[in-house]
């Protein structure tokens, strides 16, 4: 039911096709003077400030694709049921607010 929009999957994002290295800066002396070449966002995960995570209930999901379409990141893959990319999801809750069948719930990250 999902993927009725017939848009190409962005799943490719998960795989790092070219050789990329995460730049490790553990000591201040190793830092360059200015923020330069701190590495691609494909290796620097940006979900560290998430307070809660959206959990999609596959049973309730009707595959409308609204969560995927509204996700500003985008951190929802248009699979069936949709899958959240927790490496990049900031926990904004837009998917939860817009799900027409309340299939997405929030789970506190401290758990």
């Amino acid at each position: 039911m999902l993927l009725q929009l017939k848009l190409p999957s962005i799943r490719l994002n998960k795989e790092i096709s070219v050789e990329e290295k995460k730049i490790e800066l553990n000591k201040v002396d190793e830092f360059p003077p200015m923020p330069v070449s701190l590495g691609s966002m494909r290796v620097n995960k940006t979900s560290s400030w998430r307070n809660f995570r959206p959990i999609i209930d596959g049973e309730k999901c009707i595959g409308c694709g609204i969560c995927w379409k509204f996700c500003p990141e985008p951190a929802i893959f248009p699979t069936n049921p949709p899958e959240v990319d927790y490496d990049y999801c900031k926990g904004c809750g837009i998917c939860i607010a817009n799900c027409p069948v309340d299939a997405i719930t929030r789970q506190d990250e401290t758990k």
Binding site: P33, M34, P35, V36, S37, L38, M41, T46, S48
Partner: protein
């Protein structure tokens, strides 16, 4: 070569002697002559640089940031409202560690609309990460620009530098300026060759998202760079003196050794203050003057050393930090506190909006300090 020129032209020639390759500027009184002269020098082929006319001061600094990031030496100039419009990009230039040099003609901030001397513009940009020099005369303007590149481009500094000159008292007043021969200047200031630059052969991302894991360290590195800059400014000032015969430092003491009252001044007021010291000494008053030439990084050690034997410290601010006191006054007191020096201090606000601070006014300031309660701020010359 000795010639006669106003402070604005001294700034333009300072940029030319520094062999800048890129100038982006927007005209504003009383800085306009700097831009006019530079465009003329480029048009006449005397200065081999790109001159970019921009639509605002924000764009001028943004263009300089782009060009400097590509690895070439850039220059711009502005004043007052123009400097304030640059604010966002001033921070950007400093945190991107681009050693841009900017001449700022100190002019009052509106309203009331004023084109006259006042340091409120640059003082309000104190915390942007720029080093700040306050010139006393036109030779100081010219020499400071050349030294500014040398200091700013040092690999352990890499911070932009603002050379400030008082509106009209310097910008439009002609004085003798000794220009430096281009070849000699190149020996003093070699070509700019930064380690980090935009280069298609070695692509890098500048100024990208910086997480809490990294941002803090970049600010710490600027703290370290400012500490290095303190030493570098003194060192370059000495090196400049050894070659060209004119010595510079972060501060300059004038007859302070036996002085009971020490005036602390910056900009053109420092020149008048030295003349006042001579006149007051003839009247038997033991007065001296400490000029603060560099305000950022703050020369606390030199200030403590210069003021430690004074009985009275009188700080003249041509600026006012609303709700507190003069900016220099606050910082001078901070330095004395750190050194456990409990000296009577007087915050004297004078010369705002271009009001003349003559030797008569400075005499009045000294008399006011002698007869008033210490550790307070006084506005000098308010019409009552």
């Amino acid at each position: 070569m000795k010639t006669v020129m106003n402070g604005d032209f001294a700034a333009s020639y300072g940029a030319m002697t520094s062999d800048v390759k890129f100038v982006a500027a927007y005209p504003i009184t009383p800085q306009t002559l700097i831009v006019e002269k530079l465009s003329e020098l480029v048009a006449d082929g005397e200065l081999d640089a790109s001159f970019v006319k921009v639509e605002s001061e924000h764009s001028a600094m943004a263009a300089c940031i782009g060009a400097q990031a590509a690895g070439i030496r850039t220059f711009t100039a502005t004043s007052s409202q123009g400097l304030l419009l640059m604010c966002e990009v001033l921070h950007w230039a400093a945190r991107a560690r681009l050693p841009i040099v900017l001449a700022n003609v100190n002019r009052a901030v509106a309203p009331g609309w004023s084109i006259w001397a006042d340091a409120q513009d640059s003082i309000s940009q104190r915390d942007t990460g720029w080093m700040q020099v306050y010139a006393e005369n036109n030779q100081d303007v010219y020499d400071s620009i050349l030294m500014a590149y040398k200091i700013a481009e040092d690999n352990d500094v890499l911070l932009p530098m603002m050379v400030n000159l008082d509106a009209f008292f310097l910008s439009h007043t002609s004085e003798v300026v000794d220009l430096i021969d281009n070849d000699k200047a190149k020996e003093f200031l070699p070509a700019y060759d930064p380690e980090y630059k935009l280069d298609p052969k070695n692509p890098r991302a500048f100024g990208a998202l910086t997480s809490p894991e990294h941002y803090f360290e970049f600010t710490y590195k600027m703290f370290e760079a400012m500490e290095v800059a303190k030493k570098k400014i003194t060192q370059v000032g000495k090196e400049f003196g050894d070659i060209f015969g004119r010595y510079y430092d972060m501060t300059e003491s004038y007859k302070i050794d036996d002085a009971e009252t020490v005036l602390v001044t910056f900009g053109t007021i420092a020149g008048t203050a030295k003349e006042s010291v001579d006149r007051l000494r003839k009247e038997g008053k033991k007065v001296g003057n400490l000029k603060i030439r560099v305000f950022r990084p703050f020369p606390a050690e030199q200030i403590i050393d210069a003021l430690k034997n004074a009985k009275r410290v009188v700080v003249i601010d041509r600026d006012y930090s609303y709700g507190n006191e003069g900016a220099f006054y606050t910082e001078i007191k901070g330095a004395l506190y750190d050194a456990n020096l409990r000296i009577d201090t007087y915050g004297m606000i004078a010369g705002l909006g271009g009001r003349d601070v003559s030797t008569t006014v400075i005499k009045e300031i000294v008399e006011k300090a002698e007869t008033s309660e210490p550790n307070k701020t006084y506005f000098i010359g308010v019409k009552k």
